[in-house]
């Protein structure tokens, strides 16, 4: 159901699908693509539903191999349904199913996050993120019947990232150094929680009064809950405010306080470990998308040296714990 220029496209047909999902009369007013990855499209839809203005987000899988292991649209929808039912603030899931014109393509429809009626401060927002993550991490993945969520401990994460480097034929020694550090310094996995998987400031929607919605769950999996906190604190996601360690919005302690208030327990050393892994993931994601000779793509590649620098700053020789790695120094 891609927009103009692809298979369904026409407003009426998008409206028809949404109308069937809502059992209502729907008129589409506008479509705007907000995300285009190699494996999915995300479109914001403005519509009138039985005469009322509504906004939606439509996700659709695209055929083709995924360079990174994202959830399929239907899997993400099922997860968001489980989280919504558990009381997590996420976009309201409305419907999912095959594209009527392309049954091999899945669609999922959500209510778009409403713009905040009252602006929250960075501190309020970050505290709310901490609380929300603590709540997500407390949900048992077994109880939620989410068996398709894959376990991602440090070893699996590193194996995957190395595989991407190999597949893309990338010569990035600084990243290879960082991956080796991550392997040697990996904390022991003590349990698995549901992870957002890409929890940074771009994936939160402040809804006012110190509340946030966590959006875009396609990178979700099971792993060390500190990984989500680490991603949120990673320097590469601080939006030009390196002094505000939690997403460029507030202090690290604010995030920790929110997490503890939500019933979670913070392990600072683990958070900092996963921050470095978040840098590695962000760097490798830049060249894991299929080659697109676009201006934005070319400029994105220019972010790599800065990410590599951040990794090297954090992985100086004295930070290595090589106890679990076989060290083979060259004579």
């Amino acid at each position: 159901m891609t927009e103009a220029g692809s298979t369904i496209g026409a407003y009426e047909r998008v409206g028809q699908w949404i109308g069937e999902a809502l059992s209502a009369s729907v008129e589409i007013l506008a479509l705007a693509r907000i995300q285009a990855l190699e494996s999915r499209l995300v479109t914001r839809i403005s519509a009138q539903v039985d005469g009322d203005d509504r906004s939606f987000v439509l996700c659709e899988d695209l055929a083709g191999q995924r360079a990174v292991p994202r959830l399929a649209v239907e899997e993400e929808f099922n997860l968001v349904c489980a989280l919504h039912a558990s009381g997590v603030e996420v976009p309201e899931p409305i419907s999912s199913g095959p594209d009527p014109d392309r049954p091999e393509t899945s669609l999922a429809l959500y209510s778009a996050p409403e713009p905040a009626t009252q602006v929250s401060s960075g501190i309020e927002t970050v505290r709310a993120v901490g609380q929300a993550l603590a709540y997500v991490h407390s949900i048992s993945p077994n109880r939620s019947h989410l068996s398709y969520l894959t376990k991602r401990d440090a070893q699996k994460t590193i194996d995957f990232l190395r595989d991407v480097i190999d597949r893309m034929g990338a010569h990035r020694p600084a990243l290879e150094w960082g991956l080796r550090w991550a392997l040697c310094n990996a904390p022991r996995q003590t349990g698995y929680a549901i992870l957002h998987g890409a929890c940074h400031a771009g994936h939160i929607a402040p809804s006012g009064q110190g509340r946030v919605q966590l959006v875009d769950w396609c990178d979700a999996g099971l792993g060390d809950p500190m990984a989500d906190l680490g991603t949120f604190c990673a320097a590469c996601w601080r939006q030009g405010r390196p002094d505000l360690e939690a997403g460029g919005l507030a202090s690290r302690q604010t995030l920790y306080d929110g997490y503890i208030a939500g019933g979670g327990k913070v392990d600072d050393a683990r958070v900092r470990y996963w921050e470095i892994v978040a840098h590695l993931k962000a760097a490798i994601a830049i060249f894991s998308e299929p080659e697109r000779p676009t201006l934005n793509g070319a400029l994105a590649l220019q972010r790599l040296p800065e990410l590599e620098l951040a990794i090297l700053r954090a992985t100086s020789p004295e930070t290595w714990h090589v106890r679990d790695c076989e060290v083979q120094h060259v004579a």
Binding site: A174, E176, R180, L299, R303, E306, E308, L309
Partner: protein, 115 residues
């Protein structure tokens, strides 16, 4: 004048024309695209200016493990070795000096032999 300097002058002239003659007449999305083009031109200018430094740094990295640095790093033979970390840091600093010079600390500029 060297070929690199001629290339640099050509790019600088393009960047100046874009900045002075084109950008002021643009608004909205076209202006944003033009600003990104200007940013790309600035990066390329800095890359050309750092060509010789980059060459030296790349050679130093290649000399560390003539059989292949990536494999050496993955195998563990470079684990925690200060001289390798320093060489990688220097290389990343030089690349950052071209891509986003403001991200470098004073120490990193000195490490990479940059003014």
């Amino acid at each position: 004048m060297s070929r690199e300097n001629q290339d640099l002058d050509l790019l600088a002239a393009c960047r100046d024309a874009l900045e002075e003659d084109v950008l002021p007449h643009l608004e909205g999305a076209p202006r944003q695209v033009a600003q990104r083009i200007e940013k790309a031109l600035r990066i390329v200018c800095r890359k050309i200016a750092l060509t010789e430094t980059s060459r030296t740094v790349d050679q130093a990295l290649a000399d560390i493990a003539p059989e292949g640095l990536m494999q050496a790093l993955r195998s563990g033979s470079c684990d925690a070795r200060p001289e390798i970390h320093a060489a990688l840091w220097t290389a990343a600093s030089v690349d950052t000096a071209a891509a986003k010079p403001g991200a470098l600390t004073r120490q990193e500029r000195a490490l990479a032999g940059l003014p």
